[in-house]
């Protein structure tokens, strides 16, 4: 599903910063992968590249048999819309739209009619257990509910992969479990999920943990894995 070969990325803000130093990575269809690393390790940059939110300088990124390289903004927007479902730490719901409208928004950019996409949005809200909250605005929802709305929004386009950036970073332990259960459920249904996190509880749920240290994939055993196994 995802195939990264020797990905290099350098930021040129004053002094050049070589963030990713030749990342090689393969993620199979239906896999639940956690990308872990300390802050500054380059995991966010890697996520941005995986999400076609940022360009890379060198290497090759193939997502669902499509080479993702030097895309125009319009093309990139189209791929993001169709191939990828995003889940963010800060939920990133639009505050003046209610839950249904937020979930339906990706379909708006596909040109789906309002009736059709609202019906579909309601269906997906039901899947995340928020049917009764369909017409509440984000400020009327709890953190866990907001994240579940965001998950519904990520799923509505039936993407190839789900990219989650610290999905539980802003949640308490109880809602963290709710959201993780939901991700597990999606995983069981065959969705490819990539989670960027530094929380061990999240990493433990994944099939595989990829550690990023200093812009490179760390192949040895990390402290996370050690701790995960022993606990």
């Amino acid at each position: 599903m995802i195939h990264l070969r020797n990905i290099n990325k350098t930021y040129n803000n004053g002094t050049p910063l070589h963030v990713l130093k030749g990342i090689d990575l393969d993620i199979k269809k239906g896999e639940f992968v956690a990308i872990m690393g300390a802050s500054g390790s380059g995991k966010s940059t890697l996520l941005n590249i995986l999400g076609i939110l940022d360009n890379y300088d060198e290497g090759e990124y193939i997502l669902a048999d499509t080479l993702i390289k030097n895309l125009s903004e319009t093309k990139a927007a189209d791929y993001r819309n169709r191939l990828i479902g995003f889940i963010f730490q800060s939920f990133n719901l639009i505050s003046f739209k209610d839950a249904v409208e937020n979930v339906a928004l990706p379909l708006f950019y596909q040109g789906v009619s309002r009736r059709k996409r609202n019906a579909l949005a309601l269906e997906y809200l039901d899947k995340v257990g928020l049917k009764d909250w369909a017409h509440h605005y984000p400020n009327e929802l709890s953190g866990g509910q907001k994240q579940r709305v965001a998950i519904a929004r990520a799923l509505i386009t039936q993407p190839k992969i789900i990219l989650a950036d610290e999905p539980t970073g802003a949640l308490d332990s109880k809602t963290t479990i709710e959201v993780l259960d939901l991700l597990d459920e999606l995983h069981r249904q065959g969705m490819t999920i990539i989670v960027v996190t530094h929380e061990l509880d999240v990493g433990k749920r994944a099939d595989r943990i990829i550690n990023i240290i200093d812009g490179q994939v760390f192949t040895g055993k990390s402290e996370y894995q050690e701790n995960g196994k022993t606990k």
Binding site: G51, D54, A77, D78, F86, F88, F96, K97, L105, Y109
Partner: protein, 415 residues
């Protein structure tokens, strides 16, 4: 793809405009005020113009007046300071000698007379005139009749009076026609009332002028063949100033006046006055356009500024939209349409309000003898609306381009 007819797009715009009502209102107010002022000023200027020109209605726009004066240069054996007069026969011979003249009609005048009826009186000016004087200065008869050739031929003691005299001598609204008034101890029968107001006049104002047949006044006031004011109109496509120059040359030659004497013959020319008024209105309308467009322009800059602030504020939202699949073009069209809708809505309400006020002004200030057209015409309104759309695009362009360049990662950075 700019989906202007998509109801979703409209809902998006409505959402984002209503989200911050105060800011939207204040922005819209800039445009509203600009358009409102522009239309109101244009209508007001036009109303003023029609009001003033209806004042001048009745005065031929190419008429001229010649008045004799003391000479100031000694010439042909005459010393300076000589009194002389334009003579009756000059009028006839001028017409024969200068083909550009359409009408050359002599008048005699008397200023500061008093007209009485019963125990009421009114200060009046007298004018003795031939019937062709009506071409120079149309009396606009509102009651009775104008003076006619038989009145002149028979030296009848009849008169046409102005409205102010009518109102002062006949305050109860009785018909003055047929009544006899006493002007400087001579009785005249009123045959008509002139409705002319203001305008260009030489002598007393038309409202307080008593018009007499030329011969009547000539005899009663011992004018002989002396003419007080010689009135001229030029044939069409001849300029009065040119005609007056020829008339001046002729009169100076006939009356032994030095060609260098600039004081001996006074010339008044409505053409010059009209062109002055024309210039005045051109000036006013340039001013109106400058003020109106200036206000409108600053309104547009206001919209642009607010939109830039809005875009900054909405960086996260725009980033989210971009992340979940909005193309840069989607964002561009969103911001542009918002700007256009805001400008158009505000501008249209400005046009509507200004038109309403102009309509009220027109209704309030027009009366049967004085027409005033304040209302702007439809094409101007259409023009204003298209100008607004253009302004909307122009105002939205900078913020829209800025919004277009927002990267989806910005949504995540902004926290």
């Amino acid at each position: 793809m700019i989906r202007l007819l998509d109801s979703d797009q409209w809902e998006e715009i409505f959402d984002s405009l209503t989200r911050n009502k105060a800011r939207t209102f204040l922005t819209a107010f800039g445009i509203f005020w600009g358009v409102f002022m522009l239309i109101l000023l244009m209508g007001g200027g036009k109303g003023l113009e029609t009001m003033l020109s209806s004042n001048f209605a009745g005065s031929a726009s190419n008429s001229g007046f010649m008045i004799s004066n003391q000479t100031t240069v000694a010439y042909h054996g005459f010393s300076k300071g000589r009194y002389w007069n334009i003579k009756l026969q000059d009028a006839a011979s001028l017409k024969n000698n200068i083909p550009e003249i359409d009408i050359a009609t002599p008048t005699v005048r008397y200023w500061g007379a008093s007209a009485k009826y019963n125990n009421k009186s009114s200060r009046v000016g007298l004018i003795g005139e031939y019937t062709d004087y009506a071409v120079v200065d149309n009396p606009r008869i509102i009651k009775g009749r104008a003076l006619n050739d038989v009145d002149v031929l028979q030296s009848r003691k009849v008169c046409v009076i102005g409205t102010k005299i009518m109102n002062e001598l006949f305050p109860n609204g009785e018909n003055p026609c047929g009544k006899f008034i006493d002007v400087n101890n001579i009785y005249y029968q009123i045959v008509g009332v002139s409705g002319k107001k203001g305008g260009i006049n030489v002598g007393s104002s038309p409202e307080s002028t008593v018009h007499l047949p030329y011969t009547t006044m000539q005899n009663l006031y011992n004018k002989g063949d002396n003419v007080d004011i010689l009135c001229l109109t030029a044939k069409s496509n001849h300029k009065m100033s040119d005609v007056q120059y020829k008339v001046e040359q002729y009169l100076k030659r006939v009356h032994d006046i030095s060609p260098d004497d600039t004081q001996a013959l006074m010339k008044i020319n409505t053409e010059a006055i009209y062109s002055m008024i024309d210039n005045l209105f051109t000036g006013i309308s340039i001013l109106v356009w400058m003020i109106g467009l200036g206000t409108l322009f600053s309104g547009a800059i206001g919209v642009s500024n607010i939109m830039i602030v809005t875009v900054k504020e909405r960086t996260t939202e725009i980033g989210i939209r971009r992340a979940i699949g909005a193309t840069p073009r989607n964002i561009l069209s969103m911001i542009l349409t918002e700007s256009i809708v805001l400008t158009l809505l505000a501008g249209m309400s400005g046009i509507v309000l200004a038109v309403l006020i102009l309509q009220v002004m027109e209704a309030a200030l027009s009366d049967p003898t004085l027409e005033a057209h304040f209302q702007i015409d439809f094409n101007l309104a259409i023009g204003a609306a298209s100008l607004l759309t253009l302004l909307g695009v122009a105002a939205g362009l900078a913020p829209a381009l800025r919004a277009m360049n927002i990267k989806p990662v910005d949504a995540m950075r902004e926290e």
